[in-house]
Amino acid sequence: MSDPRGAVVAKRLAGIRRVIAFSSAKGGVGKTMCTVVSALALAGGGQRVGILDLDMQGASAHLFLGIRPRLPEEKEGILPLPVTDGVSLMSVAPFTGERGLPLRGAEISDAILELLAVTIWGPAGLLLIDMPPGMGEEILDLARLVPRLETLVVSTPSAVSVSVVERLLSVLKELRVTVPAVIANMVQDNAGGVKDLARRAGVGRVFEVPQDPSIETALGNPGALVSSPAGKALREAMLSLGYF
């Protein structure tokens, strides 16, 4: 018996120029903020961007974007929720709303595969994936199913974050996943050990995103998110990485 869904993942992503996951082994470092604000900045520059929130147990991209989850429309598959000009979103939230989704490993993989197999992104130029913390099913499945996956790794300057994220970078290397840059998020004075971390891992670029209290008040307001200090830093990073 075989699972047919893997056979169409490449076809579903065929209209997408680049698939970029925002990952960290540590929770609370701002992966969702970086994903969503980067997507909004890219869309502001004329790109069509899909956001795939793969955090099954803590989906929150819709909260940043200020959209109310609702069941998706169908058209030879399911359509991501339109957010704002050029941005669309898929996650578990359209199906579960604000209810908790307690899943074990194999079922997480099943849900990921289902979303990849039935979501019709259309001609989205870029797909940005908000990853949950860790190095479990989500990154292992993506590395297997999406060979051209690239990952921006997010860490705060905290020594704890740097230590845990270094383990993820090591695993990404073994998985042969491209890491174009490390994002040092919530930087106050300096990026701390993040630059050394990137150097040790052989990642050539580090982008600093400032600690930004305005993000909390900008939740649900795409315009305010993009124009925040963190938004401006992420826009510069996306520009520098050639995603525009």
Binding site: S2, D3, P4, A7, K11, E76, T96, L103
Partner: protein, 139 residues
């Protein structure tokens, strides 16, 4: 309808499994449909045949079989089926149709109320087997 995306996956997977063998070698594709996903069988069949008609394969090769859904509680070991999963609204059924794992947001063990259970069978679409001609060049 999202049945089309799943039908597309079945056709692509069957064609990939056949590999370089002549399309006429493929005599049948046995497909299991999980009860939980509540696929519309008529739309799914129509989608399979329509997608297949664009390829050099014989029509009428898909054989569909439904597998009943069953759950097993990790907390109290109770096993149950979909009929016993009471109180699910139409919108929740629709959510499960799109993403069967959504069931974990809505269904609880009917014996102890735990959210910690496994879907044992009857989730979604699977290819059970391919029937391939046994003539030379097909095996």
């Amino acid at each position: 309808m999202h049945e089309w995306a799943l039908a597309d996956a079945v056709v692509e997977a069957a064609v990939a499994a056949l590999g370089s063998r002549d399309p006429s070698c493929l005599r049948g594709v046995n497909v299991l449909i999980g009860e939980l996903q509540a696929i519309d069988r008529e739309i799914f069949s129509f989608a399979l045949e329509t997608i297949l008609s664009e390829k050099p394969y014989s029509p009428g090769i898909f054989h569909l079989e439904t597998e009943k859904a069953s759950f097993r509680c990790e907390a109290c070991s109770r096993e149950w089926d979909l009929e016993e999963s009471l109180g699910i609204t139409g919108e929740q059924r629709e959510a499960i149709h799109f993403l069967p794992e959504s069931a974990h947001a809505f269904i609880r063990c009917p014996a102890c109320g735990s959210p910690d259970y496994r879907l044992q069978k009857g989730r979604g679409v699977r290819i059970l087997s391919l029937e391939v001609d046994d003539r030379e060049g097909c095996a």
